[in-house]
Symmetry: C2
Subunit: 568 residues, 2 copies
């Protein structure tokens, strides 16, 4: 470990000592039992001990090591087992299952911590000259297997941790632009920006454990993208270290300088180089920020309301609607309130739903966020309120929204808690045009449930609409398979493949904001057509003829459908 | 000519018989005289006769011709002189100057008019197999030399006119998406959309004489991009014919499927293939559409107001501010009113300006557009009105805006009128972050004026802010050089180069929405850095190893700074 560079657990999400707890949530255990057949109070199988792992030895040669030490200093070239294992993969549930049974895959041979762009360039040139492999590493929260070397990689593998490039370098207050180093984690970046009255407004679920460079390299999108845009909109300029040269794209609001090099770097997942800094749109912290909660009679009414909102005069910061099961999950995961007022309010809401003759098994909870001046927020809430009402919904105030806002980054810890108990949880997210949104939800849910029946396992899938655009929306699916036997990885794989196949079969993309990595590469041709993959391949081959830059990601050339983290 | 496929004049803008007229504009001649020293009433030198041209013979071989005829039918393979000359270049002022003196450059050997995607593919494959050159042709309004073969091209050159692909194929009313063929001209497309209550909202100056495919291939942006977005935002999916394969990108609101292939095709200017159709965002025709006119004490106050508008809660459909000289041009180009009310109003405005002690030589005219429900437009106008006032401006109602709206596509005809009289007019447009916007205007104006002094010619440059973004704006410069001698092209070139160099020297891009072509390629490295050009080059070389697809555009490999249409 390097001082000032945060590091996640080697076996799970986030920092050591921080975990999910079901305490004070009496409805949680019954919910899990009902949905998956799992008793969360049964004895658990916690993660193994680090000492029990067999870490393959580093094959970094002396000559390359010497060059790296020469460029960075001894302390910033680390090849101890723990550091190497932490950098061996991201935090996909496959990664977590594998590490729990001691399958570490192709562990990098060394981890380097450059201090600045010149050092990144020195590393890049030394590794490429030695015909090694360069894998950039930000927060390590990737869940599409983009951080792991391909199985059997015989060349030295160098993981480049950007954690020391963690500063907001400059704010152009007139343009609303900030120049920020790529290795900064979400909270550190926002702290530096907010100290001066600014925010980037980019809040993916991984925010606490992901970095600006990682967001750009994977085409991230945050919960507030309805207002702030995807990372592709936010990123206006950048610098990237390539073998022997540095790409510099100056910050521009828009340009017609040929095929967009900016949009080639965004989503390149390390295959074109290492992003060192970016110019991003930043905004003054708004006077008012409110997240209102609403209920709809069912998910599809909520979808229609979101569709109508983006096509109306209204503007929102976020709009989120959970389907029936996710709504039940949210309720079950809430702490029991001791406040009499809250209990009464909750009763009142239930009575209102009953009076409307809603099917309580179908209700959908929604959070819609507003930002701006007090007056504008009032105006927008009014516009949205009318649309919600038209679709049969009603508002329940800002209390639940404030709670959601507080807890929004905690979900990944639940995954480890569940893995301890033999429940495999994962997520897949996608976008479709509005026309196909409801159908996608129905068909994907159905396909998942049929797959579970086929393999004879209990499982559950639920979903929320998370991001809206003029032409469609992102739907974010969470799915769970109850299997703690040796078939767990294979059965998980069935679930994951079923969902991804349903996406491409129903007018949806392989991923809205998690990227391709090796995980989603088997579906890439079905998404962007063979000619699209051909174009990407030519780009990668042309820029990186030696295949030194994070090979195997996005386009995987091994056996079809078999990726570095396929079940074995 | 092909029935149903519109064709511009071979020697100038737009359709035969349509021209600029200064009639009824008593202030126009004095304005031109004052600014440029030119008397527009002096004898003119009109465009030459077609019979006087020497058109180089076609080198299309019999074998390729036979294949093309086989694929399309005899009538859709045309190699008569007029058709070839019309397709020899776009409508840059260099093109117009050259054609007036009979320099036709490398005229294409044949023009083909495919009826559908299969025919486009047949043409593509036949030409590439014969090692010919494929140049896609839409409305022919390109002004950056993207439609002309490189000088001395020894292979057969085939211009592919997409004009028969002119239908709106499908409207997805739920998603606000339309599938439209690439060869449709702006007015024909909007007519088909508006008949069903929809609009794309994309209105570049070239609208009447440009096509959807051309907009995508050049990264176009329309006057209403503040609301509707650039073509890169509007285009959600597309199909492109490449040698031996067809790219299909399904319509998606957003995706993280690696480097964006969509954003590689947008702006590719024919170097990756021929776009045949696209899925684009379309919107219901708004209930209310209003363009309000405002005056500011000077251009820089107007710039600041636009900056504040995009950073406020307000949303506008467009915001345009003209600098002092452009404001005077607008006034001088207006028809003399006979209405007493208008005369009085005009007097009233002048009195108000005088009472505010404005320098009448500095005033800046602005048009700001609003769309939405009547209520929302009222609300947005209120927000904008406060910002305008804060920056010293005031509104003068919607009369001038309605006039602007009517006449907005007419300006290019003025260029031919001026060329008849020995005045060379051209445009260059760019974006910068807000921080550099005012400085860019001052420095570029100064550089132009100094260049004119250096060459001893009268000239004038003026400008308007045309598109606003969160981080900056597009400024659109018009410049004029008074030279009708044999040095005209060389002196024009000095002016154009001075302006482009000022752009890249002052944090601005080579073009906001006209593209690169050969015209802007000399500055590409200064804009996107040598590594950016390297990336684009590798993309082009990988996809088109035989260099058959519109070679020489965007990246030009000849003598530095010497492009197909450099002065000779």
């Amino acid at each position: 470990m390097i001082e000032g560079v945060k590091q996640q657990k080697w076996w799970g999400w986030g920092e050591e000592g921080h975990a999910y707890s079901a305490e004070g949530k009496p409805k949680f255990a019954p919910f899990v039992l009902k949905m998956t057949g799992l008793d969360i109070n049964a004895p658990i199988k916690p993660a193994p001990k680090f000492e029990d792992l067999t870490v393959p030895p580093s094959i970094l040669g002396d000559e390359l090591r010497a060059k790296l030490v020469d460029a960075l200093g001894e302390g910033y070239v680390q090849d101890d087992d723990l550091t190497r294992v932490v950098h061996a993969f991201g935090k996909g549930v496959r990664d977590l299952m594998r590490v729990r049974r001691g399958d570490l895959g192709r562990v990098p041979d060394v981890v380097v911590y450059p201090a600045d762009e010149a050092q990144v360039a020195a590393v890049m040139d030394a590794v490429v000259e030695a015909d090694g492999v360069v894998i950039p590493f930000g927060g390590g929260s990737n869940i599409v297997a983009a951080l792991e070397a391909v199985p059997g990689e015989s060349r030295p593998v160098v993981s480049v941790n950007l954690g020391r490039l963690n500063k907001v370098l400059e704010i152009d207050e007139q343009s609303g632009l900030a120049r920020i180093q790529a290795g900064v984690f979400g909270p550190d970046m926002e702290e530096q920006l907010q100290a001066k009255g600014w925010t980037m407004g980019h809040h993916p679920d991984s925010f606490v454990w992901s970095t600006l460079g990682g967001w750009i390299a994977t085409r991230s999108s945050g919960m507030q993208s309805d207002k702030y845009g995807d990372i592709a909109d936010i990123t206006r300029g950048l610098r990237m270290v390539m073998p022997g040269q540095i790409l510099e794209l100056r910050p521009l609001p828009s340009t017609s300088s040929g095929p967009s090099v900016r949009e080639m770097v965004i989503g390149s997942e390390g295959r074109l180089g290492i992003i060192t800094e970016a110019w991003v749109n930043v905004h003054r912290i708004p006077e008012v920020r409110e997240i209102q909660a609403y209920f709809f009679p069912d998910y599809y009414a909520g979808l229609k309301a979101c569709e109508e909102i983006v096509h109306s005069d209204a503007k929102v910061m976020m709009a989120r609607v959970s389907d029936a099961i996710e709504t039940q999950y949210i309720m079950a995961n809430g702490k029991e309130t001791k406040s009499k007022v809250k209990k009464l309010a909750s009763k009142g809401i239930q009575k209102l739903m009953e009076s409307k003759k809603w099917d309580l098994e179908q209700i959908a909870m929604s959070f819609i966020g507003f930002e701006g001046s007090a007056n504008d927020v009032r105006y927008q809430k009014g516009l949205v309120g009318k649309i919600v009402k038209k679709h049969g919904g009603f508002g329940v105030g800002s209390g639940p929204g404030a709670l959601y806002d507080q807890k929004k980054y905690d979900t990944p810890y639940l995954r480890d808690y569940m893995l301890d108990r033999g429940l495999v949880c994962d997520v897949s997210e996608t976008t479709t045009p509005w026309r196909h949104a409801a159908d996608l939800h129905r068909k994907t849910t159905k396909a998942f449930n049929e797959a579970m029946e086929r393999i004879g396992k209990r499982g559950v899938v639920f979903c929320h609409l998370s991001h809206s655009y003029h032409s469609g929306a992102c739907q974010y699916f969470t799915f769970v398979v109850n299997d703690d036997t040796e078939t767990a990885e294979r059965n998980y794989d069935v679930a994951k493949r079923t969902i991804q196949q349903s996406f491409v079969d129903h007018h949806a993309t392989i991923s809205h904001h998690h990227g391709v990595g090796e995980e989603h590469s088997p579906w890439l041709e079905q998404d962007i057509s063979p000619a699209g993959v051909f174009i990407q391949r030519k780009l990668f081959e042309g820029v990186d003829p030696g295949n030194n830059l994070n090979p195997g990601k996005i386009i995987h050339d091994g056996e079809p459908g078999i990726t570095s983290n396929s079940p074995r």
